[in-house]
């Protein structure tokens, strides 16, 4: 009985399914993704825009839960049942898929020229010879501040390190607001919002990052120790009991208006817009001296690649070229403020805070988080170690020099720079 019902259902669904494909030549592309939050944006904005221009190609966005994505995708790719297009995590996770020949080489794809080498670095082989995912979005670090608080206390937006600390002193002296909303309990806040946020200014972005990977610079060198020294000074401006303050605590302290400055990642914009009752602004990491070049962490976060076993590689490539186009960038960046297109063509965004963040790309040099490419793949992972040491430096458990030494020692234990 249940068997026949099942058969009927299968039959019916297959008939309906084929009936849905109006034209016989229609090709359906399926996108694997972990961004289930973005389902409506894909269904209502992105896919219709693509389908309108490309008759004959249908696109289906099929997200999995973020925590299950990597495992589910691996299983599907091994079984050969994965979708035509695969959303790529940055760096090693995707590189492994490419090395296993699950992802196709997209180096020559039309539209790839729209991206800078930094934008592509998360999905490029170590030697830079092949790119296997189209970069979709990045997140930018900086500081979000409470505009009302700044106006009330008469503080101008700080551009240099000295001005930054002067502003913090002023907020602290006034006492109404906690100067900086950050805690060290969850460790990664200290590393990601602290070290990787202000660091590029000191190690000169890509220049320092590349030198570190090549082994020309060490983490014990001054450009890498200095951000720790600055971070150590933050301690006095954090809230009471910051050692036990978690990431949601920091978010709440800021959106409730109890803190003046929030060391941020741009992904907060969407949440903060709905929660904060005051005006917000943003400024990039302050430079050492007025007139210095500013550097920002413009961290590559999402890409999309082609399943090497896809039955419709030509259509899929057409879609990928569209993802690489300014049109996609425009729709995507506006639908998800805080996730910025990596396209070289600047995108005009309607959200003022997001627009502020992205405007830094024009005046500052972008880089990605120093610990993500290559250096995180061994044991101990430099990224994880940086979490612990950044928190240690702020807590005062380790001095900046000791922290840097520990990191370098951990890295030396497994990483040998290519000569």
């Amino acid at each position: 009985m249940t068997r026949t019902t099942l058969k009927c259902l299968l039959l019916a669904s297959s008939m309906l399914g084929s009936a849905g494909l109006a034209h016989a030549e229609d090709v359906t592309l399926t996108i694997e993704s972990w961004r289930n939050d973005d389902l409506t944006i894909w269904q209502e904005k992105l896919i219709p825009a693509f389908e309108a221009k490309n008759p004959g190609i249908k696109v289906k966005f099929a997200p999995t839960a973020p925590t299950e994505y990597n495992a589910a995708l691996n299983a599907k790719l091994d079984a050969g049942s994965a979708g035509d297009l695969v959303t790529c995590r940055p760096f090693d996770v995707s590189l492994e898929l490419y090395n296993k020949k699950h992802l196709a080489d997209l180096t020559g794809l039309a539209g790839m020229e729209n991206f800078s080498p930094v934008a592509k670095s998360a999905w490029t082989t170590d030697d830079g010879s092949a790119t296997f995912c189209v970069p979709m979005a990045s997140v930018i670090h900086g500081f979000i501040y409470n505009k009302d608080a700044f106006d009330k206390l008469g503080i101008a937006i700080p551009t240099t390190e000295a001005e930054f600390f002067a502003a913090l002193d002023k907020i602290k002296a006034d006492g109404t607001y906690i100067p900086l909303a950050m805690g060290t309990k969850d460790l990664w806040e200290a590393a990601t919002m602290g070290y990787q946020n202000i660091g590029p200014t000191y190690w000169k972005g890509e220049e320092g990052r590349a030198a570190l990977i090549k082994g020309e610079q060490k983490l014990t060198d001054e450009p890498w120790v200095e951000p720790f020294k600055v971070l150590a000074k933050w301690k006095d401006y954090l809230g009471d009991g910051f050692e036990a303050q978690t990431y949601p605590d920091s978010q709440n302290l800021f959106t409730l208006g109890r803190a003046a400055i929030y060391p941020a990642g741009s992904w907060e914009i969407g949440l903060f817009n709905t929660q904060a009752q005051f005006k917000m602004g943003a400024f990039p990491p302050p430079v050492k001296a007025a007139g210095d070049t500013c550097y920002i962490s413009d961290h590559t976060d999402i890409g999309v690649g082609l399943n090497a076993k896809s039955a419709h590689p030509e259509e899929a490539k057409k879609f990928l070229s569209w993802v690489a186009s300014p049109e996609f960038a425009d729709i995507y960046a506006n639908a998800l403020p805080g996730f910025f297109s990596l396209n070289s063509t600047p995108v005009k965004m309607s959200d003022p805070l997001a627009q502020e963040f992205v405007s830094w790309r024009e005046k500052c040099k972008p880089t990605i988080r120093s610990t993500y490419q290559i250096l995180a793949r061994g044991t101990p992972s430099l990224e994880n170690e940086t979490w612990v040491e950044s928190a240690n430096v702020i807590n005062g458990t380790d001095t900046p020099e000791v922290a840097a030494e520990k990191l370098q020692k951990g890295l030396d234990s497994w990483y040998k720079p290519a000569k």
């Binding site: 760096f91 090693d92 805690g183 060290t184 309990k185 969850d186 460790l187 990664w188 809230g239 009471d240 009991g241 910051f242 050692e243 036990a244 303050q245 978690t246 605590d249 302290l253 610990t371 993500y372 995180a376 793949r377 044991t379 101990p380 992972s381 990224e383 994880n384 979490w387 612990v388 928190a391 240690n392 807590n395 458990t397 380790d398 951990g410 234990s413």
Partner: protein, 316 residues
């Protein structure tokens, strides 16, 4: 003696039917236990002797153990985790079990009113999920929204409040005490049951001899519940060296700050499954799991052969 039985058997029923039902009844338990306990254990032990060399799983002998104990980073992480684990265990033995015995002794006072209520209330946290306990205590101890600073302020002790979970010096003690709070119901219940098992005649005889109050507890009751205390201790030992969930929910997989709450369970988790950008290393994970297994095995053997045999049991 066995030969006597056998000879008796062979005389009485030479062609006795085979007792298949014994096998049949044993089979389900044997199959399930093998599938979910023995096989994974053997597989873990096997995996600890293998490692990936050039993409192939290869037998490497004790090389993984050499890495774990020989390489500075691995050894430092491991010894730190082991040391923290011993502190974690010591706090349970010094706080949880004596308190559990005290609570059980108080509950067994016949005149105590509302005994059932206390018993239930104290046992309740044991039934809660680790996630809930971890979350509740993180909130209670939070310096920003927590009620601890508020209550301490009411009694004028605000100056003694500190963000305990965030300080390397106090985090492990704080987490251990949370675990004590959660698990204290188990020693209490076991010892309470043992105390109730003491026959009234023994107590009455003691009273006739003039042994009452504290001296009755120390001289009569405590020796009688000693086997139960031994069992509680070994349960605590096994539980503590397998612990993971509470630390993971309260302090995260990196068991911060500065790894000060890292115990063997969290080290195993990070190594085996990987964390954030660190990729999982199944061979090294299995190696740590094997060492944990050996530590627990050694502890339990020490108890079984060294202590349990010497504990005097009283038959009533």
């Amino acid at each position: 003696m066995s030969s006597a039985i056998m000879s008796e058997d062979s005389i009485q029923t030479p062609a006795r039917a085979k007792r298949w039902h014994i096998l049949v009844f044993l089979l389900p338990a044997f199959v399930i236990y093998s599938a979910v306990m023995i096989l994974p254990l053997v597989e873990t032990l096997r995996l600890s002797l293998f490692n990936t060399v050039d993409g192939q799983s290869t037998f490497v002998g004790f090389a993984n153990f050499q890495v774990l104990f020989g390489q500075e980073r691995w050894a430092a992480d491991f010894w730190r985790a082991l040391k923290n684990n011993f502190i974690f265990f010591a706090i349970h033995m010094l706080v949880q079990n004596p308190l559990g015995i005290a609570l059980a002794a108080m509950l067994s006072i016949p005149k105590l009113r509302l005994a059932t209520f206390y018993r239930t209330a104290i046992f309740l946290p044991t039934l809660l999920s680790f996630v809930i306990v971890g979350f509740i205590w993180k909130l209670i101890l939070s310096p920003i929204w927590g009620i601890t600073p508020f209550f301490m302020d009411l009694v004028g002790l605000k100056a003694f409040f500190a963000p305990w979970l965030g300080r390397p010096g106090s985090a492990l003690i704080a987490v251990s005490l949370i675990s004590v709070w959660q698990n204290i119901g188990i020693p209490m219940m076991l010892i309470y049951a043992a105390l109730l098992n003491i026959p009234d005649e023994v107590i009455e005889a003691a009273e006739c001899d003039g042994v009452t109050g504290w001296s009755q507890f120390w001289k009569i009751k405590l020796p009688l519940v000693l086997p139960a205390i031994g069992m509680v201790s070994i349960l605590t030992f096994v539980g503590n060296f397998n612990a993971f969930d509470l630390i993971y929910t309260v302090q995260g997989a990196l068991a911060g700050p500065d790894g000060s709450t890292d115990i063997l369970g969290t080290l195993l988790y990070r190594t085996f499954f990987g964390f954030q950008l660190q990729l999982g290393d199944r061979s090294m994970g299995a190696t740590i799991a094997t060492v944990m297994f050996l530590i627990i095995l050694a502890g339990v053997s020490l108890y079984l052969f060294g202590i349990q045999r010497r504990v005097r049991r009283y038959q009533f």
